[in-house]
């Protein structure tokens, strides 16, 4: 079991560094390029959402990413102190709604939910945690 963490200011230009960090760690532990890419994408989507919607891209605020690599599972935790996101209030848009209403948002969380085995948003007293779990078959 290995744990890694990374803290990034809430500026969208840091997303590329976050992706590189996740990619480097997952490549160290796993072989499947497609699975690694999926997980990098899911973490990117959550981080982008938090930066934009919870922190208004304020570079003085930060988000923290924890990666817990277990035997057959990876757990990602993205922590912040923003407004928090309530998954219960999230109504997934249909693809038709996105096309017709020209919504540029809404697709990110759809991707995260398709990619990950479990997606949780946990609100604590002083922080919010988005926890993503992905099972990895042993190669």
């Amino acid at each position: 079991m290995m744990q890694y963490n990374y803290t990034a200011p809430c500026s969208k230009k840091n997303l590329a560094d976050i992706r590189n960090f996740v990619n480097k760690i997952l490549t160290h532990h796993f072989n499947s390029e497609i699975e690694i890419h999926h997980m990098v994408l899911a973490v990117d989507e959550v981080c982008a959402n938090l930066m934009i919607h919870s922190h208004k891209c304020n570079p003085k605020e930060t988000i923290e990413l924890l990666i817990d690599v277990k035997n057959q599972e990876v757990i990602f935790e993205i922590k912040d102190t923003g407004n928090g996101f309530n998954l219960k209030n999230y109504q997934e848009p249909t693809i038709k709604e996105i096309v017709v209403e020209k919504k540029k948002g809404g697709l990110g969380l759809m991707l995260v939910k398709r990619i990950m085995d479990k997606v949780e948003f946990i609100k604590n007293e002083n922080s919010n945690v988005c926890r993503l779990k992905k099972k990895i078959p042993t190669s």
């Binding site: 999926h38 990117d44 693809i95 996105i98 096309v99 697709l107 991707l111």
Partner: protein, 113 residues
């Protein structure tokens, strides 16, 4: 970071995207497509050097579908790497956006649709 290079071949307008389209860089793609659909009817998007796309990039392509249909503007993407192609596939967007392998296929499809 992305760079967008454009050129014309016959009556096809080719837009070549290099780099990674994410929440930070997608605005450049959005602005470029918004600008070219004002004058161009046949748009080919060269994705051979597109290394990454997130939902922000998907959202850009999705957001023009309606406008392109109404303006009879045709757009085809080609040369997508496996990872990029897969992102479109996860949400079934490859059913809504025209994606082919090569530039030649893209030209044929733009003329056929």
């Amino acid at each position: 970071m992305i760079t967008i290079q454009t050129n014309k071949e016959e009556d096809f307008y080719i837009l070549k995207i290099r780099g990674e389209v994410d929440a930070s860089s997608s605005i450049h793609l959005d602005n470029k497509i918004g600008e070219i659909i004002k004058s161009e009817k046949k748009i080919l998007v060269d994705c051979n050097d597109l290394q990454y796309i997130s939902s922000a990039g998907l959202g850009v392509f999705m957001s023009y579908i309606h406008e392109m249909e109404e303006g009879e503007i045709k757009m085809v993407l080609y040369g997508l790497g496996n990872n990029v192609k897969n992102v479109f596939h996860i949400l079934g967007l490859d059913q809504l956006i025209n994606i082919v392998e090569t530039k030649e296929d893209a030209k044929l499809l733009v003329d056929a649709i």
